[in-house]
Structure formats: C-alpha cells, structure tokens
C-alpha cells in the first residue's frame, strides 16, 4: 500500500546567461495505491511522469509532501532505513535495450539480486537456481533457452520479460512500469501488458503504470484509477473507463483525441480536439497551467488557478475553498477535475459495429 500526499519536486537550473530558473517537475501529487491495485498516470513527455516513477522507487528525492509505504512515512527516515521500503517497489524500465547489462548473461543478471535476497531469506544455491527458472517461467520464457544468453540475443519483448523477472527477484509488492511497452513492437505489447495484469492477479502485486498511450493503460488497470498529469500537476482523475469515455478536462480531451483512429473499425469521436500550441515548460501561468494551449480557455482561466474538485461540485470560482477538497474522504472512485468549465466531451473513437468479424 502506497499513499502519496502532495509530492512536490522542483529543480534549480543555473544558466550562464539566463540566470537561475526553477523547474517544477511535480507540483503536489496525491494518490493511493491499495494492495493489488493499479494506478495509471498519463501525460505527454516532459510533464513529470518519469520523475514521479523515480521518486517512488527511491532513485530521486522529493522536496515536499509525504510518501507513506505500508503505513510508514518515508521522509522522516534515514536513507538506509528507507532502502528497505523502496526495495519493495521495483521499476520496470522504459527501454529494454539499456535496462540489461550487455556484458552479462541472463543467468548472472538474475543471479546477483537472487543471491542478495538469499542472504536475507537463507535460501541455498539450488533454491536460488530454481527460483531463477521459476521466475522466467512466470514471465513466459523458457529458462533453459534464456539463462545462458546475453541480452542482445533476445528480442525486445523477451528482454522486457527478463526485466520484469529481475524486478521480481527481490519479492516486491509494487511494480512501477514507466512506459514499459513504448519501445516494443506493437505486436508484442499486449503480451507484456497481460503479463503485468497477470502478476497483479496471481501475486497480488500492485502496479503504477506510467504512459503517454492511454490505450495501453486500459489493459493493465481498467479497474484502477487514471490520473492525468500535466506539468507536474494532476488535472483529472477517476476510474479509467470513466475518464476515457467522459473526460471533462480539456487536456485529457486533447490527449485522448490524439490516440489514432483505426479507420474502418472506428470512427473519430464527435468532439475530437487538439491543443492550440505546443508544450512550453517555461511558460509563466498564474492561472490554469493548460490555459495557453487550451482550445476552450476563457478569461478567468488566465487569472485563477483551478484545483482538483469532485465533478458536479462546480469548480466555479475555484477560490481558496478548494484547498484539499479533492482529497477529503479519500474515496477512490470519485471523478475529480481541475477545470473551471468542465464539460464532458466524446473524443475517443467510436467502434463501427462488428464489421471486422
């Protein structure tokens, strides 16, 4: 169980001529990941998704907010005490080509963390070898064929399965999948996605799925929550299918509109839309972060900053009253948004009957 409350991360960059600049990678992210549950984060590149993944695995620090893992608040702990908790959270990397050491065989890539784990559990060498084979079988690979190979002798999909197996060597309770399928052939993606879904069902592992491709989020976490993140801030969240079918934030609508339509099988949604400008991370926006690119922006959007509120409460003025309102109660099924003018639009493709069958 992971609970994040108001995680923020800012970077200071110093340019020779531009002077100091503050980059807000994360501006207060809240979420709850129940045991065996799934949470997806979607957003375009440069919106803080990867920073979030690194913070959750302890590879990056955060400078505000609380991260509670299994009831323990981590920012109060010393680094070596934290390590134990972060070990339970393992990352599946985006690029299966760089995530495996090219100079080592799969046997040693899996063997080392297993040996380390064995010191804690007291397992002997035979059990270790069996465990390696068991893990490879679990991720859908043939142990005897794969163990003596080097990473470059495997296909992208196979490598990603090895990466998953390696993450499982330390018996984690949470997996963070950061763009886990974006560099794999489309034909192999569903295999990895169903593997991740399988792991949730069979091992009770919970999953944080970070992606820019909303369609893939459906396949691992259709029962989980979807968070739409923009410039370090969650602008809409709710049950995955609910957000996909009836998004209310214009940014979500733009993201969903960008998903290609399988013509012949689908027709574009009636309200398909697109941002009016490209992402500029340096834009100064006192009001809504998305206002400069929003196709539906109005005067108020440039002045006031909308906060997450439950749908139907009417963000209205979005004045101070919104403080933390979205988090009160902690009910996970609520549909929240940060827009002054929420309006559900049908932007995703519509299936054309059952023409293909």
């Amino acid at each position: 169980m992971i609970e994040a409350r108001g995680i923020t991360r800012t970077y200071q960059t110093y340019g020779a001529f531009t002077g100091a600049r503050t980059v807000h990678a994360l501006r207060g992210v809240d979420f709850t990941l129940p045991d065996g549950g799934a949470v997806s984060f979607i957003g375009e590149s440069g919106c803080g998704k990867t920073t979030l993944g690194k913070i959750l695995t302890g590879l990056e620090s955060f400078d505000g907010g609380e991260l509670v893992v299994d009831g323990v608040e981590l920012s109060g702990l010393k680094p070596h005490q934290r390590a134990k908790y972060f070990r339970r959270i393992q990352m599946i990397h985006q690029d299966p080509y760089s995530a495996l050491n090219p100079t080592r065989t799969i046997a040693s890539i899996l063997g080392d963390p297993l040996r380390m784990r064995a010191k804690e559990t007291g397992a002997d060498a035979t059990t270790r070898r069996e465990r390696a084979a068991e893990l490879l079988t679990l991720v859908g690979l043939e142990p005897d064929a794969v163990l003596p190979k080097y990473p470059h002798q495997l296909s992208g999909g196979q490598r990603q399965r090895v990466v998953v197996a390696r993450a499982l060597t330390v018996d984690p309770t949470v997996l963070i999948a950061d763009e886990a399928v974006s560099m794999i052939d489309v034909s192999m993606r569903l295999g990895i996605l169903s593997l991740l879904r399988d792991l949730r069902a069979r091992l009770g592992i919970s999953l944080v799925f970070i992606t820019h491709d909303v369609a893939t989020a459906r396949y691992v976490g259709d029962d989980g929550e979807l968070h739409v993140i923009y410039r370090g801030e969650v602008v809409e969240r709710g049950l995955t299918d609910e957000v996909i079918l009836a998004p209310v934030h214009p940014y979500t609508q733009c993201l969903l509109s960008a998903v290609p339509i399988m013509r012949g099988l689908e027709e574009p949604g009636p309200d398909r839309t697109a941002p009016t400008a490209a992402l500029d991370e340096r834009a100064v926006t006192p009001g809504c972060l998305f206002q400069p690119r929003c196709p539906f922006a109005q005067d108020q959007c440039a002045e006031k900053h909308p906060v997450l509120v439950p749908l139907g409460d009417g963000a209205g003025d979005g004045s101070g009253a919104g403080d933390g309102a979205g988090f009160a109660g902690g009910e996970a099924s609520e549909h929240l948004h940060a827009c002054f003018y929420p309006e559900a639009r049908r932007v995703v493709g519509v299936e054309v009957g059952a023409a293909s069958a």
């Binding site: 590879l59 070990r87 990397h93 760089s98 995530a99 993450a167």
Partner: protein, 301 residues
C-alpha cells in the same frame, strides 16, 4: 584483492571458462593483423621472461670490439666487446617489466578512482578529482631525477611504481567521464533500485562495460611508459644500474659514437627496432580488444 582480480579480466576469464577461451581465439584469428600483434607481444614476453636464462652473466669478448654480425655474434658486438643480441635479450626484462608494472599501477589507481568518483559523485567525486588534478600537475621528469639521488632504480618495481603513481591522472579522468554516462543507463538504475551493493555495482556492473576502454588505456600507456623509461636512461638522467635498451641507446650515441661510425649502427638500431616492433605488436593487437569484451561483437561473423 577483489580489485586486482577484476583488473585483469582477459586472463582470468580465458583461463576459467572454455567459451571465453574460444571467443579469445576467434577474436584474435579473425584478422591476420591481430594474430601478428599477439605473436609479437608473446615473443617479447618470452624474451623478457626466459631471455636472461640463456645468457646468464654478461660475457665480454675483448677480442672483438665493434665486430660485425657473424655466426658467433649474430648482431655483432659493441664498443666493449659485449654481444649485442645478448644485451637486447637481457635488457628486455627490465624494460618490459617496468612498462607492465607502471601500466598496472596506472590502471589500478586510474580505473578505481575514476569508477568510484563517477559512481559516487558529490563530495567523494570532488575529493578524488582534486587528488587527480594534483597528480596531473606533478612534474614526472624532475621528480624522477630527484628520486634518482635516493633510489638507484635497479629494480623494475621502483621505476614502475614511480611512473605508475605519477601517470594515472589522465586515465582516472577519462574513466570517470565514462562512468558518469554509464551511470544514467537503465541497468545501473535497476541495480540501485534492487538494492545491490555499491561494490557489486562498481566492479561487476560498471567495470565490464569500461573494460575494453580500460584495457586499451593500459596497453597504450605501456607504449608511453616504454618510451618514457628508455628516454630517461638515454638522457642519462637516472643511474645505469642494469642492462636495458635505454642504456644501450645512450652508450651507442654518447660512448660508441654511433652518429659518426657506421660500425656502431647495429648497436644503435637493435634496441630501436625492438621498441618499434613492440609498439607495432601492441597497436595491432588493440584491434581485437573491443571484440574480446563485447559479447555482441564477439559472436558476429
């Protein structure tokens, strides 16, 4: 101990596992140049190790000063009547041992400091890099001249240690920059995420990836060290406490008058050609190094 064991991966790997030995054979025989390089290197190593056993103590033939090549003296004799071939062969040990030792110390310090600094970053990095800068600014030549008043440099260990300790700065800087870029690779992030120990990450994950680079550095620095030490003896900056190629060159030029008398030419050329051949051997063999360490290149046909 772990450090030293890891610094010589070719030998250890090749000896322990047959596949590695096959890979070595394949990589070397792929191109004739590599094989020639290896043969030259092995030839000189044998000369350095076994050469002195053949000749024992230096014999001087007072009846033949500056004799030309003959059946008895294949490369003739020098101004004192010593056999030139004998001097070349017995001189090889000191030159090669010194070069090998200094290259070994250079890699040991350079690679370790570079890897640790690149991996740790922060304060450790700053401290190690200031130390590196300090080493880089030590003027090696004057130091050797001063030290020669204390030490005779009769043993290769002394010379090797001094050359090695003053020479690792460049390697450390280069390895550090490699380590910094390696650190951002996914598999190192994964290793940290898994909680593997620092020692494991540095020596088992990072070292194999920079091994071809480090080995090339090591072999190239050997060439440089051969040049440096021979130069020191040639200039007469350190006492002549042993027979070696540098001493031969010095005596050929300054005592033998090789610049004037053609009869001393062989005496001058013999060590020069040895140095040239050794350099050639190393350069030719370097070509195979990348393939030896990179499993991907190794199997490509």
């Amino acid at each position: 101990m772990a450090v030293t064991a890891n610094l010589a991966p070719t030998g250890i790997r090749a000896g322990r596992r047959w596949p590695a030995l096959t890979a070595f054979r394949k990589a070397v025989t792929r191109k004739p140049g590599r094989l020639i390089g290896l043969i030259i290197i092995v030839f000189f190593v044998l000369m350095g190790v076994c050469g002195p056993w053949f000749y024992g103590r230096l014999a001087v033939d007072p009846n033949a000063l500056y004799a030309g090549p003959s059946a008895k003296h294949w490369l003739g004799t020098d101004f004192a009547g010593s056999d030139v071939l004998q001097e070349v062969v017995t001189g090889a040990r000191y030159v090669l041992a010194t070069a090998a030792l200094s290259a070994f110390f250079t890699s040991l310090f350079g690679v370790t400091v570079g890897l640790v600094a690149g991996y740790q970053r922060g304060l450790t990095d700053s401290v190690l890099m200031r130390l590196t800068d300090f080493v880089l600014t030590i003027p090696g030549l004057p130091l050797l001249i001063i030290l020669s008043t204390v030490w005779s440099f009769g043993s290769p260990w002394e010379m090797g240690l001094v050359l090695g300790i003053t020479g690792w700065g460049g390697v450390a800087r280069a390895v550090r920059s490699q380590a910094l870029s390696l650190r951002e690779r996914g598999f190192l992030e994964a290793a940290r995420g898994l909680g593997l120990s620092r020692r494991h990450i540095i020596f088992k994950e990072m070292l194999p990836n920079i091994a071809p680079y480090a080995t090339m550095q090591l072999m190239l620095s050997m060439i440089a060290f051969v040049g440096a030490e021979v130069g020191l003896f040639f200039l007469g900056l350190v006492p002549f406490s042993s027979t070696n190629w540098g001493v031969m060159l010095n005596q050929a030029v300054f005592s033998g008058g090789a610049m004037e008398t053609p009869s001393a030419l062989i005496y001058l050329l013999a060590p020069l050609i040895c140095i040239l051949l050794l350099t050639l051997g190393i350069v030719l063999f370097l070509d195979a190094v990348d393939e030896l360490f990179n499993p991907r290149l190794r199997e490509r046909v």
